[in-house]
């Protein structure tokens, strides 16, 4: 269980799978099979970047069925408080115990730009909502027959270019009940060190987000188009310097280097690897970072 591992003091590794665009789940299941014994938990993203996909809840059920420890990513973009609570009841009834609470990307960055954005709640209110349900009532104040219990987490952006309001929000998330954080992608360990000086006073466990870059082109694209991402020029140059077709190899090396540094410096209790479509290389990254066979 993720909750126990968070308290164990062992260096933790979580990763995430983007579900398919369509009903064919074979690739997702393949990723689960190859990752479940190598990482502590597997997130399934919730229409990441507002692109419609197979649902996080469905993906988490598959993770569970295939022997993995799922983290249900829940955003507030597409569901109001009734739907959010109902989904969590279903998740709990089927053995899903970990939830990552997110506001969700803007509809405008996705592939259904004409859809109605919901945002009935925000991430802080979603965390509170789950704690309310755990106390035995729903948001309408009615008693629940069968009370769920979750290990809940949230995200934080240590590399935001204007950090103060992000830190305030981080504190609000902790106060609302967040037990762990999976950060946005970290590309500059100096900013992670600064953030951890602030964050380590709180009980919530911080898993540093590691985005696997596959090419200089991808890095530039992410800088332009992915909300909040800031990849330093030095890393882009490093990726651009390798010969054609070797970008992902370099990306694996960069990711492994960051993970090893975070572990060796004891900067964070663990990492969260986001391979963005390259889930198959996560085992290689763990091997390159010297993290083989310690997780199951």
């Amino acid at each position: 269980m993720l909750e126990e591992k968070l308290c164990s003091g062992e260096f933790m590794v979580t990763t995430e799978i983007g579900p398919p665009k369509g009903a064919d789940t074979s690739e997702l299941v393949h990723h689960v099979d190859s990752l479940k014994d190598r990482v502590d938990a597997i997130n399934v993203t919730d229409h990441q970047s507002s692109v419609m996909r197979f649902p996080s809840l469905g993906g988490c059920l598959l993770v569970k069925e295939h022997g993995g420890e799922p983290v249900l990513q829940v955003t507030c973009r597409d569901r109001n408080r009734l739907a959010l609570q109902a989904d969590l009841l279903l998740a709990y009834s089927r053995g899903i115990r970990n939830v990552l609470c997110l506001t969700g990307d803007s509809i405008d960055v996705g592939d259904h730009k004409e859809a109605k954005p919901v945002f009935d709640l925000d991430s802080v209110q979603l965390l509170k909502m789950i704690r309310t349900m755990e106390s035995g009532t729903d948001m309408g104040g009615s008693d629940l027959k069968g009370v769920p219990g979750f290990c809940i987490g949230a995200s934080v952006h240590p590399e935001a270019d204007f950090i103060e309001p992000q830190l305030i929000k981080f504190e609000k998330k902790v106060a609302a009940g967040a037990q762990f954080f999976q950060t946005q992608g970290i590309f500059d360990l100096a900013s992670l060190r600064r953030f951890m000086q602030f964050a380590s006073r709180f009980s919530a466990k911080i898993l540093a987000g590691i985005i696997v870059l596959a090419s200089a082109r991808m890095a530039r694209y992410m800088n332009e188009n992915v909300p909040g991402i800031i990849i330093p020029q030095a890393l882009i140059d490093e990726l651009a310097a390798v010969e054609k077709g070797k970008g992902l190899e370099k990306g694996i090396e960069i990711a492994a280097r960051s993970i090893a540094a975070i572990r060796d410096e004891k900067l964070c209790p663990g990492v969260h690897i986001m391979a963005v479509g390259n889930e198959r290389v996560v085992p290689q990254i763990l091997e390159a970072a010297g993290l083989v066979g310690t997780h199951a």
Binding site: G104, I168, G228
Partner: protein
């Protein structure tokens, strides 16, 4: 004020096809100020429609023009009684409220919208209007330094910025300010940053079960089916 944009001429031309005698009706309040449907725009549209008709060689329509002080006010609508007596449709350049007010007052008269009503906003500079109020019915501007997160944050969230903000701009639009960065900076100036730290519970959407009504007079019951007040 209410801000709108005139519909494309082609759309208006398509809308008026079934009607011969058409009154182009401007509105002298918000629509005049936002350059979407005042006396001047009525006159321009009138000319444009006549020109288009002449070009197409299809002389099916007879146009008249007039501008009311306010289309949303029943008192002013009475001034229309004679003017609409011999028209087949009104092409209203009032906001959506004006269009509906005319439809309610003149039950047998087709009324067509000539503008797309956009938002409640203010003039930012000449020719530029910005949305500032979502009429959410539950104002929090005292807590947010006079900057509305419900309107100006694309997600309308209440507990601080999302992680998508970059260079002080919004993830949804790089030209749009992040409302929460503006709020933070203003609260800092006002020495009220503690307001950023407070937890704001989920919004109460009960004030806005549509349609809404404010009854300043006491003893006014809710509207009947025809939208008339029941005494």
């Amino acid at each position: 004020m209410i801000v709108a944009e005139q519909k494309p001429l082609e759309e208006i031309e398509r809308m008026i096809v079934p009607y011969e005698r058409i009154l182009i009706l401007g509105c002298g309040t918000c629509m005049t100020v936002c350059d979407a449907g005042g006396e001047r725009e009525v006159s321009y549209l009138h000319s444009a429609l006549r020109l288009a008709q002449a070009k197409s060689g299809n002389g099916a329509h007879a146009f008249a023009e007039y501008t009311l002080k306010r289309q949303c006010d029943p008192e002013f609508l009475e001034l229309l009684v004679d003017r609409v007596a011999d028209v087949d449709a009104v092409l209203s350049l009032g906001c959506g409220i004006g269009v509906q007010a005319i439809a309610e007052r003149f039950s047998e008269l087709p009324v067509l919208p000539g503008v797309n009503t956009s938002f409640m906003g203010m003039a930012k500079e000449s020719g530029v209007w910005d949305e500032r109020c979502a009429a959410c019915g539950d104002c929090v501007l005292d807590e947010t330094g006079g900057i509305c997160p419900v309107t100006r944050c694309t997600k309308g969230i209440l507990n601080g910025p999302c992680a998508g903000t970059k260079n002080g701009k919004c993830e949804a639009n790089k030209d749009m300010d992040c409302a929460w960065i503006l709020i933070y900076k203003r609260l800092e100036k006002l020495q009220q940053l503690e307001k950023m730290r407070r937890y704001y519970p989920p919004r109460n959407f009960r004030p806005i079960p549509r349609p809404r009504r404010i009854a300043a007079r006491t003893g006014v019951a809710s509207g009947g089916e025809d939208g008339q007040l029941i005494a």
